[in-house]
Amino acid sequence: MTGAAPSSEPVAPLLDVRGLTTQLTLERGPVRAVDGVSFCVPPGGTLGVVGESGCGKSLTALSVMRLIPQPPGRIIAGEVRFRGEDLLRLPEPEMRRVRGRHVAMVFQEPMTSLNPVFTVGEQIGEGVRLHLKASRAQARERAVEMLRQVGIPAPGERVDAYPHQLSGGMRQRVMIAMALACDPALLIADEPTTALDVTIQAQILELLKRLQAERHMAVMLITHDLGVVAGSCDAVVVMYAGRIVEQAPVRELFARPAHPYTAGLMRSIPSLHDAGAAVEGERRRLKAIPGMVPSLGALPSGCAFRDRCDRATELCARVTPALEPKRGGQWAACHHPVPAP
């Protein structure tokens, strides 16, 4: 699937976000933490959302779920169409029927997202009872089945375990079991493996991939790790300072990034089998992006990336570039995109 760029989609998108804008009111005044963000997720597809801290990737996910704490946050514009229906216009009781049932979410910190005083079985079963009107016994049965599906050994016993009795990797499996218990059409996974060790991360990514294929479930995967994106996603959205700066099918993005920020990120990471700094005669430096991520309250005029960008001109200071098609399915918000190699 190479679907998320806003081109003519043969399949109607499952999730179609248009012009989503979320404002945060900070001490110094309001800032647009999510600023006119548009993207699609096709049924069964995987969209990666990449960016650094404060770029708005998590707030985009929370806005889609309508879980923005208000105040300080408020969605001030845009549409979040799920199966054609704008979730932003749903009354809260109806939204609650969507959340957890059709769109589910997995967070980075499984310990803080699980309730320490309920067993994992009760927590997995809660959604099943609420959304699918299952009995207590059915919910428990479903919980055991879900624990089995996410690869937890001895699920019949673990169903009565409390979160603190499980390791980090196991808790993340429980979170996934909880999210998938009602067979959602879309899973939003916000840094689901960031807190985990690399061998456990590999297990969880493999698990998500398998469950996604079995259920034909769409996934919106939020991460800062370009490696995770390359291995898991069909299409990618790159965010910087609240806006999408590049959007492309995964192959195109990695083969020839168009936005200087995307290209800079890729250059700054050493690849595996690069002993560049340590091997005598090869003391190369990494190609770092200069400067730092600007705070939302003090963005430069025009393009937010321009003072870290080696391609910036006077135009970039005057005119904020719009997200426009550049080449084959690839969109970038840049006046001077990086030429294809």
Binding site: E52, S53, S167, G169, M170, D197, V198, T199, I200, Q201, A202, Q203, L205, E206, H224, D225, L226, G227, V228, V229, A230, G231, V250, R251, F254, A255, G264, L265, M266, S268, I269, P270, S271, L272, H273, D274, A275, G276, A277, A278, V279, R283, R285, L286, K287, A288, I289, P290, M292, V293, R308
Partner: protein, 354 residues
Amino acid sequence: MSEPLVQVRDLKVHFPVRGGLFGRTRGTVRAVDGVSFDVARGETLGLVGESGCGKSTLGRALLRLLEPTAGSIRIDGRELTGLSQRQLRPLRRRMQLVFQDPYASLNPRMTVGDILGEPFAIHGLARGAAREEEVLALLDAMGLPREARHRYPHEFSGGQRQRIGIARAIALRPDLVVADEPISALDVSIQAQIVNLLVDLQRERGLTYVFIAHDLKIVEYVSTRVAVMYLGRIVEVAPSRALYAVPRHPYTQALLSAVPVPDPERPPTRQLLPGEPPSPLSPPSGCAFHPRCPYVMERCRREAPPLYPLGGGHAAACFLAEGDSQRSEPAAAGTVDAASPGGAGVLAQPPSRG
């Protein structure tokens, strides 16, 4: 070839676990359990492994910020274990730690100038204008503006704070810097800046690094040699390039195959390990890795493999490597593998569990 700057022999750091009504000792966490290695002057030893493997404990014990239970640590030929805090003080300026979280490790009530001047004050070096000069030189070397000395840590970004943390660590021109996950709290676009800074400083000042991290790509990039830890022990050590090109221990192989590669044309060939690292409170019998190992043999359940020297400074603690071992008998603890070129000695030692 000169003597290695750091020589660690059979180092153990055990923590008692207390519990129950009277706080009786219920068991022992063997956080570091018989580790030996050398670090040559001017090199970077990377220390990798997953959480709980003991790499941070080892880093802190190396600087005597944690009390070793047994074993020997020699820095520049001087034995550190057994020294009192008072005896340690003059040595402290020669070995420093860079922390993961530069915010938590900088005093929020001190200006950057005071933070950087403090090491000089503690050790009674460079007073008045001379100290001011040192602070300015440090700020210049870190790429921080000179006005930064009048400001407080919270006024800086994460990357700048880490620069301040590094400046404090190198202020007194130490020989050894232990960097414990120095970039993992930073944004991706800032990580490369800090790595470059560390590499530049090493070159300019001849620093020796022990670089502790879980990011295998960064460790490969910065390290001369890399040691892989699992459950309190070194399971493999080799020159960086050799370790990544031909990992010999099944755990290292799995660890490397699990690294997400930013290339969609190369679909992940992950070698998935079953299960999770066991608790250091009750390590498995024999080789600690055997319950997760795809090549487990009967012998692995009973016996812990020693670190077999494989030539070229490469050593692995796995029976599968035994046939390639450079010696018929594993060397006694405390002898340096003479086969390793460049004097970056790798140690072979028999298991000494229990």
